[in-house]
Every structure is written in structure tokens, then in C-alpha cells.
Amino acid sequence: MTPLTWTILAMAGVTYGVRLWGLLLPGTRLGGYGRRFLDLVPVAVFAALVAGGLPGTGAVDGAWRIAAATVTVTVVARTRGLAPGLLAGLAFYLAVRALGWA
């Protein structure tokens, strides 16, 4: 097995452990702060991943990538669909590159 396979097994182990732990704890109540923290973790993680991956190879490329991100946000906000938003932003950016602007 590769190191990544072991890592995937460990990731699966902690996920299963958390889910099973909850099922073994009926009646447990989490305070307001803890509940809000857990609710906000996905928002914070995805925002951090966007910030880490969006900057391009220069100012011009970076500006077009931000424009592509704006297209994705607009389409997702209107359609509530992951795939249409992703494809629209991607198509915009690839078209800009094909035209030699980025």
C-alpha cells in the first residue's frame, strides 16, 4: 500500500470514529459556542482553500482568476448548483487563456 492509501485509511478511521461516537452518546448536549463552531468549520475551511488556490502566476493572471471566481459565485447564487457554477467559471477562464489574455 502507498503512503497515501494509509493516509486515506486514517482519514476514514477518524471520520467513522466521530460518527460512531455520536451514536454512542444519546442525550449529550453541546453548548451554543461549540455547536456554532462546528457549524462554521466548513465555511472557514472552504474559504481558506479558495484563498490558497486562487492566486495565479502574476497580477494579470490573478485578476482573470478573480474574474472567473466572480462568474462562479454569480452562477451558484442564481442556480444553487455546484456544477453549473464551476463550469461557467472554468469556461470563462479557459476562454480568456485561449485568447491569450491570461
Binding site: R19, W21, G22, L30, V43, L49, A69, L86
Partner: protein, 213 residues
């Protein structure tokens, strides 16, 4: 369940395409869907792998993202009697979507929870396989600009989660912190620190709120 299945298909396919673009093999891409079965954590893991993050960062980020499943388990256990094999199986199938339909339609019915979760598991894995096979025909993503698929996919996942000013503030704080910390820390550590900081601040009671922290 049909609308949920239809909704899961593009997520599973997009996950697989991004995973293959990040360099994961067909088996590794599918293994994550089979064993982890947690869309948000799978997307995050792919982004971290593409950024060169190490095993500890991957495992700790997965734990952080999936900690909310602890709440799901507690709520399900309070309303539905699950024991033995049923509880062990339900633990693997307890996703956001399965929890949602169980709370809405299946309280007190363990078979409903397992059936809903199992159907989502099959659809998610079939969509992963289809996306992974399709992605084999794609060229080097960085050479043709396809690397932008990572941030755009995370952005598309983020937008529906930003429902109020609190979540918007958390998203902006986390993004700025990750960008700033990325200069001095390795990508995975910057992500963990930014996440903990933004969610920790964002979870504080609002000024004027009478709710206990």
C-alpha cells in the same frame, strides 16, 4: 430521495475530476469515496494534496471538518434506537444528506436511516467512478489552466453555506488569514490555523446576545 440523488451525482463527478487532476490514482480516488464517504472532507483533502500537504494535516483537517457528524450522531441516537450491526453500519452512512432526510422523514426508523444512507452511498460512488474515468482523458491541468478547478469548486461549495453576516465574516476572515499565513507556514498548517481562528471568532456570541457562550 430522488432530488438528493440527482444533487449528489455532479458533486461526486466533480470530486473525482478534481482528485484525478490533483494526481490521485483511480483506486485512491474511489477508495476515498468508499471509505471516507464525506464530500466536504474529500474535496478539502484533494485541495490539500494538490498543495503538497502531509498526512497529519490531511487527517487533522478531515477530523476538524467531520466533527459536526458527532452532532448528527447525538441527535439520531436520541430519537432512533440503533444497536449492534445496525449502529455500526449507520455510523458509516451518516452524512449531511442522510441526516437531513432522517430528521425530516425518518425519526425513530433505523431502517429509513440506513436505506437513505445506503442509496446515497451507491450513487456517490457510481458518480465518483464515472468522473474518475472521464478525467483520465484530461491533459496536465496546470499546463492548460485547469488547476483553477480547485478554488472554483471550493467556492461553489462555499457560496450556499454563506447564509448570514456571521458566516460571511467567517469566510472573509478565514480567507484573509489563510492568504496571510500561507506566506510563513506550509499550506496545510495555514489552512488549519485560519480555520480554527475564523470559526473560533465567528462562534462567539454576538454583542447584545443573552445566550451563554
Amino acid at each position: 430521495m430522488t432530488p438528493l440523488w440527482i444533487g449528489v451525482v455532479p458533486f461526486g463527478a466533480v470530486y473525482a475530476v478534481t482528485a484525478r487532476a490533483a494526481g490521485l490514482g483511480l483506486v485512491e480516488t474511489q477508495l476515498m469515496s468508499l471509505l471516507l464517504f464525506a464530500g466536504g472532507a474529500q474535496f478539502a483533502a484533494v485541495g490539500l494534496i494538490a498543495a503538497g500537504a502531509g498526512p497529519w494535516t490531511l487527517v487533522s483537517t478531515t477530523l476538524l471538518i467531520n466533527l459536526r457528524h458527532l452532532l448528527y450522531g447525538v441527535v439520531v441516537a436520541a430519537t432512533t434506537e440503533l444497536r449492534g450491526v445496525r449502529r455500526a453500519v449507520a455510523a458509516h452512512l451518516l452524512t449531511d444528506e442522510a441526516f437531513g432526510v432522517h430528521v425530516a422523514h425518518g425519526r425513530g426508523r433505523p431502517a429509513f436511516l440506513i436505506g437513505a444512507g445506503l442509496s446515497l452511498f451507491v450513487v456517490w460512488n457510481a458518480a465518483t467512478l464515472a468522473g474518475a474515468l472521464l478525467a483520465r482523458s484530461l491533459p496536465d491541468p496546470y499546463a492548460i489552466g485547469l488547476d483553477i478547478v480547485f478554488p472554483l469548486a471550493f467556492l461553489a461549495l462555499l457560496v450556499p453555506l454563506v447564509r448570514d453576516r456571521r458566516s460571511l465574516a467567517v469566510a472573509l476572515t478565514s480567507g484573509l488569514a489563510a492568504w496571510g499565513l500561507g506566506v510563513v507556514l506550509e499550506p496545510g498548517a495555514a489552512l488549519l490555523a485560519a480555520t480554527a481562528l475564523a470559526a473560533g471568532i465567528g462562534a462567539a456570541p454576538l454583542a447584545g446576545s443573552r445566550e451563554a457562550p
